[in-house]
Assembly symmetry: C2
Homo-oligomer: 156 residues x 2
């Protein structure tokens, strides 16, 4: 019965479980991110306003930041892009971004369950206690290859 009434109830339950109040702003943001994975705050605001027109940009930033801290959302920052958000959390999947058009695709963990959680430290490095490993693939998507739409400036 956890998700009986659609994700709406699940979101609410998760918020309460984290000691957060269930507000229409939070639910609208969560729904918007669910509908538009890999979206920046600005797009999430636009999408969420479809069901909650009075929603504020500031609120979106606060909510996104808080929910990310709670691990109810995941954030990643591709080069030359604002932060992107998604509701797919808990697994350690990674991302591929097209350096030409910016398209983002999900990628399964390449090395199994815990991807690269045992890094090979440099001789002179002071090892850290690694919590997560974000892998960001960069390349050219099929669409951009076909249309020859190569990037004007080849970023790294």
């Amino acid at each position: 019965m956890t998700e009986s009434n659609g994700p709406q109830e699940a979101w609410a339950a998760a918020l309460r479980a984290h000691g957060r109040r269930v507000t229409k702003q939070r639910l609208a943001v969560l729904a918007a991110v669910e509908r538009h994975p890999h979206s920046p705050a600005e797009h999430i605001l636009a999408a969420a306003r479809e069901e909650l027109p009075e929603l504020t940009a500031q609120s979106v930033y606060v909510v996104l930041g808080d929910l990310t801290d709670l691990h109810m959302l995941r954030r990643f920052e591709p080069p030359h892009s604002p932060a992107l958000y998604e509701t797919r959390v808990g697994d350690n999947h990674h991302h591929a971004v097209c350096i030409s058009c910016g398209r983002v695709e999900d990628v399964e963990c390449a090395v199994g369950h815990a991807p690269c959680l045992t890094p090979h430290w440099d001789e002179d490095a002071k090892p850290m206690t690694i919590q997560i490993a974000d892998v960001l693939y960069q390349g050219i998507c099929q669409e951009c290859q076909r249309t020859q739409k190569l990037p004007s400036n080849v970023q790294q």
Copy 2:
């Protein structure tokens, strides 16, 4: 004899090889990045001004961007941080950042030579032609663990 007169000559040669003019600004930026790996533009500006006081922030941004495109510098963008630059290019090493203090350490490629260049695509994903894979480890460094200086807000 390529590096006979120190890195200075090597930088100059590399710039010419790329059809770039050898300017004191470029050399100062390169030297600054060499001396301070994993530094943001602002710090590079400060460091480069020690030997070239009249250097401009704008020039630093232009030079960093151009040299990154030429693969003479490498840029990466940790979460909640401005872009960082380093002169170590050509190998596919990765980075570990402390989510508490921001310290950055170099990490050898975990999987061998070409790390995760063969991603496991999602069923519904449209595969891209991957060019590089950036791996960013996030954790707590020894220093912060010892001093119990845990992050106030646990970012993802």
